[in-house]
Symmetry: C2
Subunit: 657 residues, 2 copies
């Protein structure tokens, strides 16, 4: 995963044993060699064998690598990423135009390694592969909650595993400025709680990403979303201030009417342009709220004096000035879809977040663009829903080929209102891999069942990279229970998901506070419950078999029994821990569903229709069980409802026809 | 854990909420401040709250810290490590003579934090604490299998959590030399497979340890166990060579008759003495096998010419020379108990590994000493067995006070024949904490039940430090099964333990090969099965209750049922994976035990004596089930045997009296 564009499966296998070796022919280079050392280290971890890490000059390597060209200093958007991997029973050969293609091919090789009755092996296969889109990104917001570099690095490893090639680094927001500026040190000093990246760290991080075939595109939000910037430099703002990063601070926007603003930006970008070697530079530009501009008479006067109609025109003026500064520093400007304005040059890249229409409109007007609408990981959607979103679908489907060629790809977005170093992996993975496949694989690859099967496989393999999307749940449950016995809480945790979309934010009773602890069950509950999915599939199989599938029935009965008995085990714990109090209604609901589901199963098992009165009574309970509690949804309600409804008997007969 | 020497529990609690703050009064210093920042970061992780990491100057901190003196540049053995922690409902105060005591007290504070119905809190308490022994060490062998620094660092964090204060770093052995020498670069170049620590890395690591109150004592094995050293410098050896680090290489010992040997050692120690600031320097000295000396006529001639009786005298001569070199470089020499010889000065520290007698003998002769016999973690003993070993017991019990004062403490030893970066945490933790308690707490603290209760609690808390002693099992099981469904294998894995003592090594059919993969179940099975312990306790409780304890019976029945059914689930997987083939007999045994145990339980439940013929038949199966299979022991055999025996009925009656 992502599925290659062409696979020809052969017969037999190539063993991967302790004699495994790699040789590099063609262009080498330090980046490629480091990639090979990393590859062998990962293969060692995957197999538990001590393998020779350095490439050999051997005449008979297990894997021969051949890159036609060497690495460019900075990776470019247009780089050829294709590779060809040919595995026979006697050896494997990986060929690519560039080291980048080799890196992708090595990831494919790692995914092909399987355990067999005789040892580890890869199948005999020929793979020819290249990406559908050149821009396959993940945005990580480190402004709202700081994410340390070791956590980001393991996510880069995960991105490389699914062949994503851009980290879009959202480096500040109202709550914190995360980059050291030597020119304007008050940016990080007043604009953060001490949690920011030094320039040395950033250089190291960018090199780490480059080694893994990942470009780092920085985002510096202008003119809005930048209160943390005004904490040190209030003179840049459109309102009088003072500004702090404390929770609940007022909205604030840069003053685009003062020349000092552009002088500051020029110097700041000069510094950042050196730190981030990528050609592209993201200036944000979204959600510019007009309040401060409206209430500043000087700004309104400026608008009228320059013949502008409104705040939008003022932002376009600002963006034009910004674009010239970026151009001077050899950067291509990117912005969120609000920046779209006829005054902007066509070199600007537009990132669509409010809908697919803006991407199509931009392409029609001659702008290059990226899709992020539909790829917001923070909305807690199931992977299949992201997977169904295609940059070329919707309004884009009607574009002509030239316009279509302007759609560069897309980016998954990990906004961090509810994200911490502890839970971020579980918010990104494994769902991000479904988006990665959408952006890499041919458009015909779209069967969600196949995707989920491969996603489940990939998910545990991603753990080899140090990602904690599965394992981080355990220490969090221990924290909540306060003892070693987390069994009952885990049972509940595996049946729930966080509420979707912006429900959690909109149900807040007070202003969102970025310093509030994120230690509730909702903060570690997985966005997509494997167990609920599994239960749903079992119920589906049982119903479709007209209640004859005994394996499915056994599975259903086992889970319902565990759930029925779980509240009795969990209840005593709920009272002892303040973090568990809120779970009482969910726990009771789960047990009731277990009881009702078992009764329904008994009726179905005996082919005896359930009494109407019992059904209406239990179904009346089901609806309230669907409502969010403690900001979570119980994901097993609908399949239980199906069992209860099926127990009426009529449905049984109609299904049997 | 370790249990403090004095605890006075009060009434009430001090809340630990998001306003938590720390103030430092008295002597500060960068080491103490970093310790406080780390403490708050750990508290943040433990509670999931975003806490202010920097110490405040506030008039009303939650925790006030007062150290009388500042830090010494290098930590000394004799340093006062005591602290006093007073927690009231309004605040806490931690006082110590030195920053080292403060560091210990902060660890105690972290362990006191618990979750309550109203929030996180620490109890009102007064603790006065100091260690029983000044030397509380852990040896880690990185020679046989290289262990990366990040893995070692998280183990330092674990050591700090249980107040251990010495890392004994066994830096080379026959299989690899792990330190960069600038003076003698062939040491690491010819003597390792490229896996060694650079001098910069070592300096950083020693500083990391110092920050956590841990001294780093290097061990350089001389004259034996040093084949990797001869790979680059064969002229130092007693035999002609050539020498490599390849598996199966011959035993080799330094030539103590040549002056060049001492010149080399002098220069080498001069370099290493600067790298490792600790006063102590370990020269190994164990297991000097006489073969090479016996077969070298020049060496034998030297022995006779100098009036020595045998090889032991020659080693004593070598040690004397070595001791003078170390003394010149201001180091105190340490060695394993073989170095004990009347010709050595009394400053030498003796580490007993062959028995407790040598420690007592050394103390009687005026040498300081450490106990490691009984603390070998690689022997896979239960924690309780290590816990029962006391440096002052055995032969040492008869020493007079002055002699006793020469016993400095002890060291747990993690020899790495079967250890990898993946499984090392599970070999060290949590059992090492029992040894840490033995060395810190008063000698009266020795109840194994209390120890196990606290050890279970500590074990999950250690996960906050990044230790993987629990979590690393999961990816390893995925590797072996090759799919997402590891349930059945996990059930088996949780009932077994690796064989004990040196059984695994002695049952090898070929020479031990340090490059052989360590990816079998025995390599990740936990040294002490929590589940077997839990099952045993339940059976114990059930029998002691005269079969009336329904909770225990339910627990027993549930586990036996899972085991009975497990082989049916696991068997199909065993055939598909070469790493699982060997588990078939174990899996069958477990299921048979489940079946037999359930039958016994039914007889007991009905108070109907089981038939003699059935009993003798099933008990005949039990004995072979106790023998090692696939280098593992099934740990649930004995409790099932007890159930079967109890089902005879007579025992029931005698128990009921």
């Amino acid at each position: 995963m992502p599925m290659p564009s062409l696979i020809q499966l052969g017969v037999g296998q190539l063993p991967v044993d302790r004699s495994f070796s790699v040789a590099i022919t063609g262009m080498g280079g330090a980046r490629l060699e480091r990639g090979v050392v990393r590859f062998v280290a990962e293969l060692s971890r995957q197999t538990g064998m001590f393998l020779q890490q350095k490439p050999v000059g051997s005449a008979n390597p297990t894997l021969r690598i051949h890159a036609v060209h060497g690495s460019e200093k900075a990776q470019e958007l247009s780089e050829d990423e294709s590779y060809e991997l040919v595995i026979s029973q006697s050896g494997a050969k990986l060929t690519a135009a560039n080291p980048l293609g080799i890196l992708h091919g090595l990831q494919t090789f790692l995914q092909l390694v399987e355990i067999t009755a005789n040892g580890f092996a890869v199948p005999v296969v020929t793979i020819k592969d290249q990406p559908r889109f050149a821009w396959r990104g993940l945005l990580i917001d480190v402004g709202r909650h700081f994410i340390p570099l070791d956590v980001l690095k393991r996510n880069l490893d995960g991105m490389a595993a699914v062949k994503m090639n851009v980290l879009h680094w959202h480096l500040y927001d109202n709550e914190g400025f995360r980059v050291e500026s030597k020119r304007f040190p008050k940016l990080q000093e007043a604009g953060s709680d001490g949690l920011y990246y030094t320039q040395d760290e950033i250089r190291d991080f960018v090199a780490y990403a480059h080694d893994r075939g990942i470009r780092v595109v920085p985002e510096f939000e202008m003119p809005g979303h930048s209160r943390s910037l005004f904490a040190g430099y209030p003179e840049l703002a459109s309102g009088p201030g003072p500004y702090t990063i404390e929770p609940g601070g007022a909205d604030a926007v840069m003053d685009p009417t003062r020349e000092e603003t552009y002088k500051f930006i020029d110097k700041f970008i000069a510094e950042m342009a050196k730190l981030f070697p990528d050609d592209y530079f993201h200036i944000g530009g979204d959600e510019v709220n007009g309040h401060q501009w409206d209430s500043n008479p000087k700004i309104q006067a400026f608008i009228h004096a320059h013949g502008m109609k409104n705040n939008q025109d003022l932002q376009a003026y600002f963006n034009e000035r910004l674009q010239k500064i970026l151009s001077k520093h050899h950067k291509i400007m990117m912005g969120w879809d609000e920046v779209l304005h006829p005054d902007l040059p066509k070199t600007v890249v537009v990132q669509s977040w409010r809908g697919q229409q803006s991407l199509a409109t931009a392409a029609q007007q001659g702008y290059s663009g990226l899709l992020s609408f539909g790829y917001y990981l923070d909305l807690m959607w199931p992977a299949s829903r992201h997977y169904a979103v295609d940059p070329m679908s919707g309004a884009a489907a009607a574009l002509n080929p030239e316009e279509k060629s302007r759609i560069l790809g897309g980016e998954a977005c990990m906004w961090s209102e509810w994200v911490t170093p502890e839970n971020i992996d579980s918010r990104i993975w494994p769902r991000n891999a479904a988006i990665a496949e959408r952006l890499w694989s041919p458009p015909e690859v779209q069967d969600p069942d196949s995707m989920y099967e491969r996603l489940g496989e990939l998910s545990w393999r991603l753990e080899w990279l140090g990602l904690t999307h599965r394992s981080a749940l355990i220490p969090a449950l221990h924290r909540m229970v306060g003892t070693d016995d987390i069994g009952a809480l885990r049972t509940l945790a595996e049946t729930v998901e966080p509420v979707k979309d912006y429900t959690r934010m909109s149900s807040l009773k007070t202003t969102w506070d970025f310093r509030a602890p994120l230690n509730r069950l909702v903060d570690v509950a997985r966005p997509e419950s494997d167990q609920a999915q599994h239960f749903k599939n079992s119920v589906q199989a049982y119903i479709e078999s007209s209640y004859t599938d005994r394996a499915a029935e056994g599975e259903i009965r086992m889970l319902l029994t565990i759930w029925r008995d779980n509240d009795r085990r969990l209840h005593p714990l709920l009272e002892q821990s303040f973090l568990l109090h809120e779970l009482a209604p969910l726990s009771e609901d789960l047990s009731t569903l277990g009881t009702d589901g078992l009764l329904a199963l008994d009726y179905l098992d005996k082919s005896a229709p359930s009494p109407e009165s019992w059904r209406s009574q239990t179904l009346a309970f089901v609806e309230p069980a669907k409502t969010p509690k403690a900001d979570m949804l119980l994901m097993v309600v609908v399949p239980v409802q199906q069992l209860i409804e099926a127990s009426a008997g009529e449905v049984v007969n109609s299904n049997r026809k």
